[in-house]
Symmetry: C2
Subunit: 143 residues, 2 copies
DNA sequence: AGCAATAATTGGAATTATTCTAATTCGAAG
DNA sequence: CTTCGAATTAGAATAATTCCAATTATTGCT
């Protein structure tokens, strides 16, 4: 039995016909498996070219559609850095992103145990946060 | 004497010929004064049309150039929300942004006294953060 | 199974924010 | 006043993403 946990990397065929109410078409399975396989925060274009290897007929528009379906069903996260193309991340745990300015590489950064927003932000009372994105940029010591 | 503090809104003429080593041309003063005047996080286009009122000959390219100059000299902050056009913010205090999903309005959100990154993020040791952006989205209770 | 209704995929065109380019203008310094 | 680098300009170019209309696939009925 396959699981979609933090480290699994199922082939498209191993993915079920439906996840969380989202019908997994051939293309969606392909795209999802690509995002799960190499967790290097690929852009839509990256996903497109990787998908083409197994499925040469897939179109870029479909890749965008699939990514959008996966994102809106909460199976994949969309990651934005400034004005760069969106990237996609299958890590659903609460985390944010750090981009190494030298290499462009993006690293996941987790929150410390038990921290929550209200602890560090002066949010107006009654604020209901539905979406949070934290993006860091900088250098890593050893570089 | 004018100050560029959180609430001043100088006319272009009131701005000095140079700020922080950045030569303030007519256009840069115009653009800066527009950003200082209405702190509603305008897009480059918003700034363009507001600037045109006083300076009908200014070009959009110049607005982009001026904003870029102001941002890179640290006089204005560039604010990004997902894939929306960049917005510009003259509030230089340490803060982040909350977008009301209903209206699209962006509000500044300040950090609680004395909080710092390392307190809530599990940053790899040796990480030097040069840039941090926190974007929240959601609803405000009363809406 | 056969068929209608619905949803997904496709290629290509369209959109849009932003950047680039090359020519002109400006302004500070001598 | 002239020079020279920097800034401005209009318009073209770019690039990510979205839209569109036509085709194809899938589901749910009977």
């Amino acid at each position: 039995m396959i699981s979609l946990d933090a480290n699994s990397s199922p082939t498209p065929e191993e993915l079920p016909p439906e996840i969380d109410g989202l019908r997994m078409t051939k293309q969606r399975r392909e795209v999802f498996s690509v995002v799960l396989a190499e967790r290097d925060h690929p852009t839509a274009n990256d996903v497109f070219s990787r998908s083409q290897k197994r499925m040469p007929t897939i179109s870029l528009a479909t890749v965008y559609n699939c990514l959008e379906a996966l994102v809106s069903h909460g199976l994949v996260r969309q990651v934005n850095f400034e004005r760069e193309p969106s990237r996609y991340c299958p890590n659903l745990s609460d985390h944010c992103h750090f981009q190494d300015e030298k290499t462009g590489t993006i690293h996941d950064v987790v929150f410390k145990e038990g921290v929550n927003l209200a602890d560090f932000l002066e949010l107006p009372q009654g604020t209901e946060v539905s979406h949070l994105e934290i993006s860091l940029k900088g250098q890593i010591g050893s570089n």
